[in-house]
Amino acid sequence: MSTKYSVTIDGKTVEAGPKQTILDVCKTAGVDIMTLCYLEGVSNVGACRLCLVEVEGTQKLLPACTTTVAPNQKIQTNTDKLKQYRKMTLELFFSERNHICSVCVANNNCQLQNLAREAGVDHIRFPYIFPEAHTDASHKEFMMDHNRCILCTRCVRVCDEVEGAHTWDVMGRGYQSRIISDFDQPWGDSSTCTSCGKCVEVCPVGALWPKDAMLGHLKKSPEMVTELVHKRKHRS
């Protein structure tokens, strides 16, 4: 028997069940939390660190998407400290690779851009790194530009967990990490890709896009994948 218990979110007492993540509980309670790598329907990895919350009794900030709630936990989601960190994290995303919105296919349809606007990011306080990154146009339908990839691994998880192809993975480590298809081969040479396009739909930025998309007119629907997962659950 699963037992319900209560936790406090921003001073409000809400009901929670075991195994629920802090993010799940916040959603049910109508508390908005900024997320980026999170995608309903696939596993949570805690890659982007935007959903960090404060929990009474621990110094560490915890990612809401991968932390399960505990009875009587007191959670803060919107303190000044958290707002600062969120802004900083967003700026770090912009400073790492090459995010020049005005020439990006995802301009006005980019989750990173939206979140930055929401958090009030108006300039980047960190030096730009611009590591050498490449573009891959070898797939017949889709493009990949590593200059805009934020390593959220949504594409990796969707391709593995929903499509079952596991074309993508991450190579290397730290700032040299890169998304790869198969053995770091051109995407068009991939023997595993089914060209289903799910990775393209869920990529939150302009790193993956269909070749026929026009600049500034890109529409993506990550919800499509979430719905697909729900529909498949109902079949079995």
């Binding site: 490449h134 074309t167 993975d169 190579m171 480590r173 770091d184």
Partner: protein, 173 residues
């Protein structure tokens, strides 16, 4: 911005049938009942036998263990211990397995160490020769065995190995 992608040819090259090291890898995979979580152990064996992890053997491991290609490549590039390229321009791996040891592999190794001023796991100063040791290539009947690049040398002696190596290194100036 060009990127040196790995090519289909590199990835699909079929390892030679008579390379006994393939059997050693298969044995290791079976020892773990093909469990995908034994990937790291299996890659260790590949690196031991080849001095690095050749791309076509990643394909082999990926197929045999049913681990997706990108996962194999991701793991192989995450750990600094693994190397994807041979260390030297030419590479020499001395088998120190029981059979080869008994047949005098130690003397072969020592001869190379002194004549070429190189230690196992390293390359000569000019980068021409990489030296490595391994435990059993799976062809003990040929002991002591030395693998030089893609050639498997049988019944090696301290006397004949130096000439063979010098010829190899000199050939590719």
């Amino acid at each position: 911005m060009s990127h040196a992608f790995n090519t289909l040819d590199q990835v699909t090259a079929v390892p030679p049938k008579d390379d006994s090291r393939i059997r050693r890898i298969t044995t290791e995979i079976n020892r773990h009942h093909k469990r995908p979580d034994a990937l790291i152990e299996v890659l260790h064996v590949v690196q031991d036998l080849y001095g690095y992890i050749p791309l076509n053997l990643m394909t082999f491991v990926s197929r045999e263990m049913k681990v997706p290609p990108s996962r194999v490549y991701g793991v192989a590039t995450f750990y600094h211990f693994f190397s994807l390229r041979p260390k030297g321009e030419h590479n020499c791996i001395i088998c120190m397995g029981t059979a080869c040891f008994v047949k005098g592999a130690r003397n072969v190794l020592e001869k190379i160490e002194t004549d070429f001023q190189v230690q196992p796991g390293e390359t000569t100063q000019d980068g021409k020769l990489g030296l490595q040791t391994a435990r059993c290539f799976g062809c003990c009947g040929m002991a002591p065995v030395v693998v030089l690049d893609t050639d498997i040398l049988a019944k090696v002696t301290p006397e004949n190995i130096v000439g063979t190596l010098q010829e190899k290194i000199g050939n590719n100036k």
